[in-house]
Symmetry: C2
Subunit: 216 residues, 2 copies
Amino acid sequence: MKIVFFVFDRLTALDAVGPYEVLARLPGAEVVFAGPARGPVRTDNGCLALMADESIDAIDRADVLVVPGGFGTRTLEKDARVLAWVRAIDATTQITASVCTGALVLGAAGLLAGRRANTHWAVRPRLAEFGAIPVGERIVRDGKYASAAGVSAGIDLALALAAELCGTEVAQAIQLGIEYDPAPPLDAGTPEKAPPAIRDAVLARVRARDAAVAGR
Amino acid sequence: MKIVFFVFDRLTALDAVGPYEVLARLPGAEVVFAGPARGPVRTDNGCLALMADESIDAIDRADVLVVPGGFGTRTLEKDARVLAWVRAIDATTQITASVCTGALVLGAAGLLAGRRANTHWAVRPRLAEFGAIPVGERIVRDGKYASAAGVSAGIDLALALAAELCGTEVAQAIQLGIEYDPAPPLDAGTPEKAPPAIRDAVLARVRARDAAVAGR
């Protein structure tokens, strides 16, 4: 099973690495990290580089495509080469998945029109720009399309995909292997649960950074 | 605040990237990924490379040191250069943290003698080899030492450290920023919760891979 992670500059590392840590453990998984060019891509804060082992030009199919998010997706929404590649790979997939603002790339590629999808809570309304139906659930499925909420939600999505693709027992073994029995020491992981002042501050920060990237 | 992630060949990527995604968002965080040499390090399955932007030789202090795990720690336990570096950095830290089998590196460096600590459930008894007191809790603190259980537990540990270092509101904002409101679709994340046959199979697999690395 060929599983392709698309990586790019200004991605959010956990969006990709969470699902990777789950899906790479599927029996027979052949995982490839592919970027606009071979070589390192840097995260949105600049302090971590992941290696794109292949250029997207070298990838012509995938059983599972995973598109992570990060402030860099704003640029990708207008990148005709990347969007054409996403469409071409999507035509070959069993599952096309996004985490966080990766959904906006799928949307810009025209793949989510009329479909239910989710993204990071702070930009959820933007899904409608691409004709998608925003749904505030941690994991959203519509046909072969699978979208997760922000950042950490990719782990939950990947476990659900693992169970779907290879059965419950394989997914349970992966969950145990990564000791995924989460116990957050705080309870502020959604805009409904966080104190309103914190929610507003995070929203303002996301919007400012997004606007800065959009304005380049 | 200087936060150093030690990375190395055969690491488990999520062990590092989970805490990174939290701690890099602390106000004033200066995050560095450092490895035995500058350049890419590969994960335990070979399919992802993270970049070590610095050699450990270029790092002489840290406010927070994070040592992730992975099968590669078995080799590091006997790596005198790495262990000396860990001891030297530890002498400068406010917090010395490990995720998963990173605790065995701290142990081999002599930092956990007489201290409570945890690691991946499958190798927990090995902490006693280094004089540590194995504790089956997701986050274990003993003085300035902080150790997480396996892989995904590093996210919970990092949120607890964020609250400790910068206050509850900063940690809440980070939790909301990464939308960390986990909802695993299965409930097999600990050896107590997983079906016994799955627990035994995962344990056998971990032991076989660990023995293969140890025997090199």
